[in-house]
C-alpha cells in the first residue's frame, strides 16, 4: 500500500500551469481531481507520472522523493499505472497480449488470467481492440494497469468516452475492484457525480489552483467557493445576514445551501411565492421569491404546487 503526497507543487508552461498544489492520496484510497477544462487536472497527472517536472514543490511516493525542481524520476521508476480516456490499447495486439504488455515478469504474467476473469474480460482474450466496445476497452486498460502491479493508478477521464447506459456498471465494477486490490488511485474527471460516488477525497481545481479539498460530503454540503459549489450542482448562495439568521440560526456572512436542504412548509418559515417549477422526473425544482426579491431554489417531491402559490421555507 502506497501513499502519494504532493507538497506545494507548481509547474509553469505556457497555459498548462498549476500553482501550489498540495494533497495526499492515502494508501488504498481514491482521490478525485475535479475541475473544468483547462483547470490543470491533466497537468497534475503528468507531474505525478513524471512526464512533467515541477518548477517548485515536491512529489513523494511513500517517503521517497520522486519529483521536485531538481529531481525528476523517470515514469518507469515510479510504479505507476496509467488509464486513459481513449484507453490507449495497442491495436496490433489482442486483448490477452494487451493485458500481458503490462506484466513485467513471469509471476505477474501468471496472474493475467485471474485479473481478466475478475474484470469479466476473459472471453475477449483473442479479440482485437477494434472488435470490442468502449466499456470493454476500458476494462482491458484497467486490467493491463493491474497486471503491471503498479502501486498507484492514475486515471484520466476513464469513463467519459463510455455510453451513459454502461458507465454506471463499469464505474461500480472498477471501484469495487480497486478497493479490493487496495490500490492508491487518482481519478481526473469533470463529472461531479462520478467524483462524489467514487472518491474518498476530492480536490477541486480552478485555473491551476486548488479551490477546496476534502471528503465528498464536505465538498458537496459545505462548499467554500462559488465555483466549487457550482461544479457539484445547483446551490443557493445567500449573502444576506438577516436571511441566513432566520433560515439557519447562524451569524455567518454567507452560506451555500443546496436546494435539497430547504423544505417547503405549510405554515412555519419564511414566506415566499413560487415563480417557477422545473420538472426533473423524480423531483421538481421550485424557484421561490422571498423577502427583498431574493430567489431561492428548493428541491421537492410535492406534486400539488403551482406557480404563484404562497409557501413557507425552512431548513431540513
Amino acid at each position: 500500500m502506497t501513499n502519494l503526497t504532493l507538497n506545494a507543487v507548481s509547474h509553469h508552461y505556457n497555459e498548462a500551469s498549476v500553482e501550489n498544489i498540495s494533497f495526499t492520496a492515502q494508501a488504498g484510497k481514491i482521490v478525485a481531481i475535479v475541475g473544468a477544462s483547462g483547470s490543470g487536472k491533466s497537468t497534475i497527472l503528468k507531474l505525478i507520472s513524471g512526464f512533467l517536472q515541477p518548477s517548485n514543490g515536491t512529489i513523494s511516493i511513500d517517503d521517497k522523493l520522486v519529483g521536485s525542481s531538481k529531481i525528476c524520476l523517470a515514469p518507469k521508476e515510479r510504479s505507476i499505472g496509467l488509464v486513459f480516456q481513449n484507453h490507449a490499447l495497442l491495436p496490433h495486439m489482442n486483448v490477452q497480449k494487451n493485458v500481458e504488455f503490462g506484466a513485467q515478469d513471469k509471476n505477474t504474467k501468471a496472474q493475467v488470467p485471474s485479473i481478466m476473469r475478475e474484470l469479466r474480460i476473459e472471453k475477449l482474450a483473442a479479440k482485437y481492440p477494434h472488435e470490442i466496445s468502449g466499456g470493454e476497452s476500458q476494462r482491458v486498460s484497467l486490467a493491463r494497469a493491474i497486471a503491471a502491479n503498479s502501486k498507484i493508478f492514475l486515471m484520466d477521464e476513464p469513463f467519459s468516452s463510455i455510453d451513459s447506459v454502461f458507465r454506471r456498471d463499469l464505474r461500480n465494477d472498477m471501484t469495487r475492484f480497486l478497493r479490493k486490490k487496495d490500490r492508491t488511485t487518482i481519478i481526473v474527471t469533470h463529472d461531479a457525480e462520478e467524483a462524489l460516488e467514487l472518491a474518498d477525497h476530492i480536490v477541486v481545481l480552478d485555473q491551476g489552483r486548488i479551490l477546496q479539498q476534502g471528503a465528498p460530503e464536505d465538498i458537496y454540503f459545505k462548499p467554500t467557493h462559488m465555483q466549487a459549489a457550482q461544479l457539484f450542482g445547483e446551490v443557493n448562495h445567500i449573502q444576506d445576514t438577516q436571511l441566513i439568521q432566520t433560515l439557519t440560526g447562524n451569524n455567518a456572512n454567507e452560506v451555500f445551501l443546496r436546494p435539497e436542504l430547504l423544505r417547503l412548509n405549510a405554515k412555519d418559515g419564511i414566506e415566499g411565492r413560487i415563480i417557477h417549477i422545473a420538472y426533473r422526473g423524480n423531483y421538481s425544482m421550485a424557484s421561490v421569491v422571498v423577502e427583498h426579491q431574493r430567489c431561492l431554489k428548493v428541491k421537492t417531491n410535492r406534486t400539488d404546487l403551482s406557480v404563484g402559490q404562497t409557501v413557507y421555507l425552512g431548513v431540513v
Partner: protein
C-alpha cells in the same frame, strides 16, 4: 549565392551574351505553361470526380493516377514520334485530305509548348490527388447555407469550392513546377533551351564549375520564388477530416454524362494509354533490336538502385521522425525537407562540384561517381521529404498516450519503438518505400550524372536511345519500366484506398 561573389569566367561571359536569356525565358515559359495546364487538368478532373456521378466514374477515379507510372521522357519519345511530320498522325491527315507539306498548319511538338504539354500530362496527377481530397473534404453545410441565403447558383458553388481547395491545388501545382524546372528528359529530347538543359550541357560538354553553379543558382532562385508563392498561399490551409455531412455527388444523365466521361478519359488516354500502346507497338514490331539480357541487366540495375535508395531514404525518415517523437521540439526535418524543392540535376551537379573542389583536393577521387554513394546522397536529399511526410503522419496516428502508458509500465524508449511504433508503422513504411522507390525508378538527371560506369538503369537506357532518335530500341526498356512502375502505382493506390483502419489509433 557564392557563385556570383567570385569573378566571372570567360565561359560565363560567353553564355551570358549568347544563350542565358533564352535559358531563363525557356525555363519560365515551360514552368508557367505547366502550372497552368497541369493545374487546369488536375483541378477539373478532380472536381468532376468529387462532385458528379457519370459512366465509368469509379474506374476513372483511379485511372487518373496512371500517368504517375509513365515517365515524362517516355511520353516525350512517344509524342515526338507520333506527332512529327513523318509520324502516323500527320501522315494520316495528309492521306485523308490529300494534301502535302506546307498545305496545312500543325502544332510543332518539339517546342516549349510541346514540352509543357508533355510535362503537364506527366504531372497533373499531383494536382488531381490533392484537389480531389480537398473537394471531398468540403462540408455539405456550406452548400446548405448558400441555398438558405439564395446563393446556391452554379457559379457561386464553383467559386466557393475552388476558393477553399485553392491552397491544396497550389501544393500540387508547385510540385509540377519543380518537376518542370528540373526536367532534362523532355526538354533535351525536344531541343528546348532551359536552365536545366543548359546545366546538363555544362556537365556534358563544359568544364567550368562556376558556370554550372551560376546556372544552378538562377534555377534554384526561380523555383524558390515559385515555392515561396505556394507556401504563402497555403499558410492557413487545413483539411477538415471530421466532415460528417459530405457533399453528395450529383447524377449526370444523357449526353452530358457521356461528355463528362469523355472529358475525364482524355487525360488518361493522352497521359498513359496512347504512349503505352505506342511503346507496345514499337516493342512488338522491332523485336530484332531486342537484347533480352541487356533489358534484364537494366531492369536489375533499376530495381537495385531503387531498392537501396528507397531503403536508405525511408530509414533516414524513420530515424528523424522517431527522434522528433521522443524529443519534442526537434525540427531537423524542416531543413532536410527543403531538398524536395531542389531539382535533382542541381543536387547532382552540387555533389560533383563538392567532389571536385573539396574531396579531390583531399585526395579522395571519384567518391561521388565511383560507386552508387553519390546517387544515394542525391536521392536522400531529393526524396527525403515525401518519405518523412508519410512516416510522420503515421506517427501522428499513434496516440501519445500509448507512449506514456508504456513508459509508466517501465518500458524503455527502445522497447516502445520496437513493440509499439514499428508494428503500427508497417503500412506507412511500406507506403513510403513504394513512393520513394517509384520516384527513384523513374528518376533521370541525378542518376545520369552520378552513376558509376557499371550502372545503367532503364531510365538511362531509354533516355540515351531516345536522344539518339532510336525509339524502337528504347521501347522494350520503356515497356519494362512502365510495367514495374505500374505495379508500384497500383500498390500505392490500393494502400491509399484501404488505410489500415484496424490499426488506426
Amino acid at each position: 549565392m557564392w557563385p556570383f561573389s567570385v569573378a566571372a569566367s570567360e565561359n560565363w561571359e560567353h553564355i551570358k551574351s549568347t544563350v542565358l536569356a533564352s535559358y531563363i525565358l525557356g525555363s519560365i515559359s515551360v514552368m508557367v505553361l505547366v502550372a497552368f495546364l497541369s493545374g487546369s487538368i488536375g483541378a477539373i478532373t478532380a472536381w468532376c470526380i468529387a462532385r458528379y456521378n457519370f459512366p465509368l466514374r469509379g474506374v476513372l477515379s483511379w485511372m487518373l493516377i496512371l500517368p504517375f507510372a509513365m515517365p515524362s521522357y517516355i511520353l516525350a519519345m512517344s509524342y515526338g514520334h507520333l506527332l512529327e511530320f513523318a509520324g502516323p498522325v500527320q501522315s494520316a491527315i495528309r492521306d485523308l485530305f490529300e494534301i502535302g507539306k506546307g498545305d496545312y498548319v500543325f502544332p510543332q511538338i518539339r517546342s516549349s509548348y510541346g514540352a509543357a504539354f508533355i510535362l503537364s500530362l506527366a504531372t497533373f496527377p499531383y494536382v488531381y490527388l490533392l484537389s480531389r481530397s480537398a473537394f471531398e473534404a468540403q462540408s455539405n453545410e456550406w452548400s446548405q447555407l448558400a441555398s438558405v441565403f439564395g446563393r446556391d447558383t452554379w457559379l457561386n458553388t464553383l467559386k466557393m469550392s475552388f476558393g477553399a481547395a485553392r491552397p491544396f491545388m497550389a501544393i500540387g501545382i508547385s510540385l509540377a513546377i519543380i518537376e518542370a524546372a528540373a526536367d532534362i528528359g523532355v526538354t533535351q529530347l525536344f531541343g528546348v533551351q532551359t536552365l536545366a538543359t543548359g546545366l546538363y550541357r555544362q556537365w556534358y560538354f563544359g568544364d567550368d564549375p562556376l558556370v554550372a553553379a551560376r546556372l544552378a543558382s538562377i534555377l534554384i532562385l526561380i523555383a524558390g520564388f515559385l515555392l515561396v508563392i505556394e507556401r504563402a498561399s497555403r499558410k492557413r490551409a487545413q483539411f477538415n477530416s471530421n466532415i460528417v455531412d459530405k457533399i453528395p455527388r450529383q447524377d449526370m444523365r444523357g449526353i452530358r454524362a457521356w461528355l463528362m466521361c469523355f472529358l475525364i478519359t482524355l487525360p488518361v488516354l493522352l497521359g498513359f494509354f496512347i504512349p503505352l500502346f505506342w511503346t507496345i507497338r514499337m516493342a512488338i514490331f522491332n523485336t530484332r533490336h531486342l537484347r533480352i539480357e541487356r533489358v534484364w541487366d537494366a531492369a536489375i540495375d533499376s530495381i537495385y538502385v531503387s531498392a537501396i535508395g528507397a531503403g536508405i531514404v525511408v530509414l533516414a525518415a524513420i530515424i528523424m521522425s522517431s527522434a522528433e517523437r521522443n524529443e519534442k521540439g526537434i525540427r531537423y526535418h524542416i531543413v532536410a525537407s527543403l531538398g524536395y524543392a531542389v531539382p535533382g540535376l542541381v543536387i547532382a551537379l552540387g555533389l560533383l562540384i563538392f567532389q571536385r573542389l573539396l574531396l579531390e583536393g583531399m585526395g579522395w577521387r571519384l567518391v561521388m561517381t565511383g560507386s552508387i554513394f553519390g546517387m544515394l546522397i542525391a536521392y536522400l536529399v531529393r526524396f527525403f521529404s515525401p518519405a518523412y511526410q508519410t512516416i510522420h503522419s503515421g506517427f501522428a496516428r499513434i496516440s501519445p498516450e500509448m507512449d506514456m502508458m508504456a513508459s509508466g509500465f517501465g518500458k524503455s524508449k527502445w522497447a516502445i519503438w520496437r513493440q509499439i511504433h514499428m508494428p503500427l508503422l508497417r503500412t506507412p513504411v511500406f507506403y513510403a518505400l513504394l513512393l520513394v522507390a517509384i520516384d527513384i525508378f523513374k528518376e533521370l538527371p541525378a542518376t545520369l550524372i552520378l552513376r558509376p560506369f557499371d550502372i545503367k538503369t532503364l531510365a538511362i537506357v531509354v533516355f540515351e536511345f531516345a536522344g539518339d532518335d532510336r525509339p524502337a530500341e528504347a521501347a522494350p526498356y520503356a515497356l519494362i519500366l512502365i510495367a514495374i512502375a505500374l505495379i508500384a502505382v497500383y500498390l500505392l493506390a490500393k494502400l491509399n484506398k484501404e488505410p489500415d483502419d484496424k490499426f488506426n489509433s
